[in-house]
Symmetry: C2
Subunit: 200 residues, 2 copies
């Protein structure tokens, strides 16, 4: 999935949809807004965690390959295309530790398909773990309205050794941490980090 | 020629790679060129540190605000503009610790002007320090062909309390760490991190 730059500012979902590539998932966004736009929820949560002085976690801007810039219009980009993120979408610091994660959603009720995870993301997360960082995925099961934190090691293991190209929902129940949802923050994912990585 | 708002040249990824490979092999590269393109030097150093399994540090892509996308041409961006980075340019992990820094160069021999550092970058670095991350600047004195690591606290202090809008060169001699330059890596800045933050 290609994600879009939002930098510091949160764009309303409607405006965002206009510039978004029309994927199957985009078109399915409908009735219940809450928890349906995972990226917006994470960005809002990050702003909240930053403002509350709890953690500093930011989204990496989408890499854009620029072909043409019009300087007569004040450095306006007139031709460019999206590139794939070579790492993950989010990283930052919590209690001095390095945090790195990728967020994905699925419409499936029974499993999370690995098809939209890139090999270089797996390589990146393996390196992060090797260097002592905290690496995980935030996976949203849309139809269940549930969001889980799953340590990257499980995803790496399924990616490299799994017979099927997906992670069964049961794995999330057993080894994931269900992320509490609310309004401030939208996703209490730092609580899940605390539970998984800091509690002895 | 395409230029980013900060005046650095824009190079397509492919061209960049070609140049870097050439410069790695061409040991007769002139001394005057060496270390003149700070961003390329840091990017090459980061690749080397990654490949040598020493650290995982990446450059955040330049944020672009997208106005118009032409889907009939396969999601081609036809109108967009550069945004200011709301954080710093680089972050990552070394020995489990969160690393965050901004890189700048100056032509001045006597001081580093604070004029091209944004307030939100100062705010960001203050937060990083507060949450236990390692935060610094990599400053290149072009005409001296010297590159220093200076802990962010000094820059924050000059920014907030300094009477003049620059940091004298003497501060770098006294409180900075001179970064060794070479070919692999171009900038031994992890050595400087080790010296500054890990050696007791």
């Amino acid at each position: 999935m290609i994600r879009y730059p939002n930098g510091t500012k949160y764009q309303p979902a409607a405006e965002k949809k206009r510039v978004s590539r029309k994927s199957k998932e985009d078109l399915s966004i409908s009735a219940s807004n809450r928890g349906m736009d995972l990226e917006s929820d994470i960005n809002l949560s990050n702003e909240w965690y930053r403002d509350q002085d709890i953690a500093v976690i930011t989204k990496r801007p989408t890499p854009i390959n620029i072909v043409k810039v019009d300087y007569s219009r004040g450095a306006r980009i007139t031709d460019a295309y999206f590139e794939k993120q070579s790492t993950t979408d989010y990283n930052g610091v919590y209690k001095g530790r390095y945090i790195d994660f990728e967020a994905k959603n699925t419409k499936s009720k029974t499993s999370f398909p690995l098809s939209n995870i890139e090999k270089h993301q797996i390589d990146h997360l393996k390196r992060v773990i090797k260097h002592g960082g905290i690496a995980f995925f935030i996976i949203q099961f849309q139809s269940r309205q549930e969001v889980y934190l799953l340590d990257a090691s499980f995803v790496i293991d399924f990616w490299e050794n799994g017979e099927r190209k997906s992670i069964p929902y049961d794995v999330f129940l057993k080894d994931g941490i269900l992320i509490k949802q609310g309004y401030s923050p939208r996703l209490y994912y730092i609580d899940a980090i605390e539970q998984k990585y800091f509690k002895k």
